[in-house]
């Protein structure tokens, strides 16, 4: 166990009854770090947060905070404060009493509590609202009261359970930055559960991607975005276009034979290539090159070129989004100029934006999640 880990989880297993929700979670979080637990609904992220908070006991493994084993401690002895998804404000208490409750438990004097509550109200822009009941506050105000209640006790660890999911999209963007700025100013170790990729990216120092109760990848937002460790992570981070390829690989080199759907290419990757054979190529819709099949290009190697036909063009703003059919599947390609539907085209994917993984053993790679396929599991995961 490294010394700089403030909160450390070791081999955590948890579940309800016979269903195992978490399996073998290992996680080290430094003091003052902001970590986002990112995953689709049902991946176990909320269970993990509640296990850390002590609302559920893990069936195996240990949780340590600052070197102290808290695995079996009740929630009130852990020095953590949580902001619930529903906020869980007490409806029979005013906003000020909600915020001051934790201090009352600590036996603070009445004047000291009033001062601290006023400080919290000022910090969170709740001035003059202290006398109101939660039912008399707007969603954004309730969220801030819940945050104030958690911050007032000056917790060692702040736990956020999708605190932004009940807010308007517009407010959410500003609150993201407010929470992040506050966290950095106060230096509180924070764990934030979310299913929103962008939210996790802009708020967190590090992101933990959970898939079916396991950690799929752990790293900085940039590392996860540019170097996804698995097809699942790549899909979750927006590389939803998927094309099957046959390739011969050695070291960092990938040689792709010409096929009905692609031209021959030789690539040098900045990371070790997957084993030779059937590959699943994933890429995002941005930073691609789309041109007519009959137009010659001067561009050299370092990219794969896919042959397809434009099926539809829409304008979501910024660039034109083309649905390009390639073999049995289709991909989405953003391009500054619109090509009419029916055009035969070449989609050029530069090696830097290309993620290659061994194709799943069961069935062809073409059957795996793709952005254009409305019923794909990946799409469901992302919109859930």
């Amino acid at each position: 166990m490294s010394d700089d880990a403030y909160l450390s989880l070791k081999d955590i297993d948890a579940g309800y009854g016979r269903t195992r929700v978490l399996e073998g979670i290992d996680l080290m979080i430094g003091k003052g770090e902001f970590v986002a637990l990112l995953g689709a609904s049902g991946c176990g992220k909320t269970t993990l947060l509640r296990t850390i908070a002590g609302f559920a006991l893990p069936s195996a493994g240990s949780i340590r905070v600052g070197g102290r084993d808290v695995t079996r401690l009740p929630p009130d002895k852990r020095g953590m404060a949580m902001v619930f998804q529903s906020y869980a404000l007490w409806p029979h208490m005013t906003a000020a009493r909600n915020i001051g409750y934790g201090l009352r438990l600590k036996g603070w004097r009445r004047e000291a509590i009033a001062a601290r509550v006023a400080e919290m109200e000022a910090l969170l822009g709740l001035g003059g609202l202290g006398g109101r009941k939660p039912s008399e506050l707007s969603g954004g105000q309730r969220q801030r009261v819940a945050l104030g209640r958690a911050l007032a006790v000056d917790p060692d660890i702040l736990l956020l359970d999708e605190p932004l999911s009940n807010l308007d999209a517009r407010i959410r963007l500003t609150v993201r930055h407010e929470i992040r700025a506050l966290q950095q100013r106060l230096g509180i170790t924070t764990i934030h559960v979310t299913h929103d990729r962008e939210e996790a990216m802009v708020m967190a120092d590090r992101i933990v991607i959970l898939d079916k109760g396991r950690i799929a990848q752990l790293g900085t937002p940039e590392a996860i975005y540019t170097r996804p460790a698995s097809a699942f992570v790549a899909a979750f981070m927006g590389a939803e276009n998927v094309v099957p390829l046959d390739a011969a690989c050695s070291g960092h080199r990938v040689d792709i034979a010409a096929g009905p759907l692609n031209r021959a290419a030789g690539l040098m990757l900045d990371r070790p290539a997957p084993p030779s054979g059937r590959l699943e190529a994933r890429f995002r819709s941005e930073r691609l090159e789309l041109r007519r099949l009959d137009v010659q290009s001067a561009a050299d190697g370092g990219a794969i070129e896919l042959i397809g036909r434009v099926e539809a063009v829409v304008y979501p703003g910024g660039e034109w989004r083309h649905t390009v059919r390639i073999g049995d599947g289709s991909v989405l390609v953003d391009c500054p100029e619109a090509l009419p539907p029916g055009s035969d085209v070449l989609v050029r994917v530069p090696a830097s934006g290309l993620f290659l993984f061994a194709a799943p053993a069961d069935g062809p790679a073409g059957a795996s999640p793709s952005a254009a396929d409305e019923n794909s599991p990946a799409r469901e995961r992302l919109t859930a």
Binding site: G54, F55, P75, M82, S86, A88, W90, P91, L105, A150
Partner: protein, 284 residues
């Protein structure tokens, strides 16, 4: 002269008759219903102020309040049994709540299959005919010296009232979101403290309603009080029974009126305290 008038008036009369045919049966049914509901009550009210009333007179011969004086006279048992009834009801409420709060809370947080089984078990005493149950209890209490004591009557009433108390308390506690409790635990409250600060205040309206139910059930209870309490402990229903059986309708009616007061107060209070979302959870 009359013939043209009649023929002129005919269409209007027809409308009037049709109107009458539409209204008359409905008015009759409504009137009959009102009579069935309020007739006995009115009769009771008249009896409370009747001095002399016997067959074949449709109404009392003399009116007066002399029986009220007799009921509330120091020699009359009314005040004494009123005090007995109310104190027994208060003890019963305290006893039932003391059991129903922990039981209801545990049931509200239990898994469903087991929970329904236990809730059903609380119904069991109601499933058997009252009489044999109370006769047996009376025999048992007699052996251990509880017969004819206030404690004995309270125990019988608690068993009876526990069904309402536990069912309503379980519903009231289920209506409190678990996260509200966890939020308090999370900020450093012990389990008991979180219960006292969050769960109990939020469940209070439901618990209040269950207390009122139990109070009224105890006030009205006759069979158990009769077998276990009489003749040493006289509650209002027992007084009502002996007055009614002795043919003293004035005293019986005045006692009945006394029993009516808490019931009406109860209806008003329940409407204020029992929220629909708590009621909806009863038996869930």
């Amino acid at each position: 002269m009359s013939a043209p008038t009649a023929s002129l008036a005919a269409p209007r009369d027809l409308g009037f008759v049709r109107n009458l045919l539409w209204w008359l049966p409905r008015a009759a049914v409504l009137g009959a219903l009102a009579f069935v509901i309020f007739g006995p009550l009115l009769n009771l009210l008249i009896w409370t102020v009747a001095e002399r009333w016997y067959f074949p007179h449709a109404l009392p011969i003399d009116y007066g309040f002399s029986y009220w004086g007799r009921v509330f006279a120091p020699r009359g048992n009314a005040v004494q049994s009123l005090v007995a009834s109310i104190s027994i009801a208060v003890f019963t409420v305290a006893g039932s709540l003391a059991l129903a709060i922990p039981a209801g809370y545990a049931l509200a947080r239990l898994k469903l299959p087991l929970r329904n089984l236990i809730l059903l078990a609380f119904l069991l005493p109601q499933a058997f005919p009252n009489l044999p149950v109370y006769v047996n209890i009376a025999r048992l209490f007699y052996e251990i010296g509880l017969n004819g004591t206030v404690l004995g009557v309270v125990l019988v009433h608690v068993t009876h009232g526990l069904v309402y108390a536990v069912w309503i308390a379980a519903a009231a506690f289920s209506a409190v979101d678990r996260d509200l409790e966890l939020a308090a635990r999370n900020l450093g409250a012990s389990g008991l403290k979180a219960f006292a600060d969050v769960t109990l205040p939020l469940a209070a309206p439901g618990l209040m309603a269950s207390a009122i139910f139990v109070f009224l059930e105890s006030l009205d209870e006759f069979t158990g009080s009769y077998f276990v309490g009489a003749p040493d402990v006289t509650t209002l229903p027992l007084l009502l029974y002996s007055a009614g059986a002795g043919g003293n309708y004035q005293i019986a009616s005045i006692t009945a009126l006394l029993l009516l007061v808490p019931s009406i107060a109860f209806m008003l209070v329940v409407e204020k305290f029992l929220r629909a979302d708590v009621l909806a959870k009863v038996g869930q």
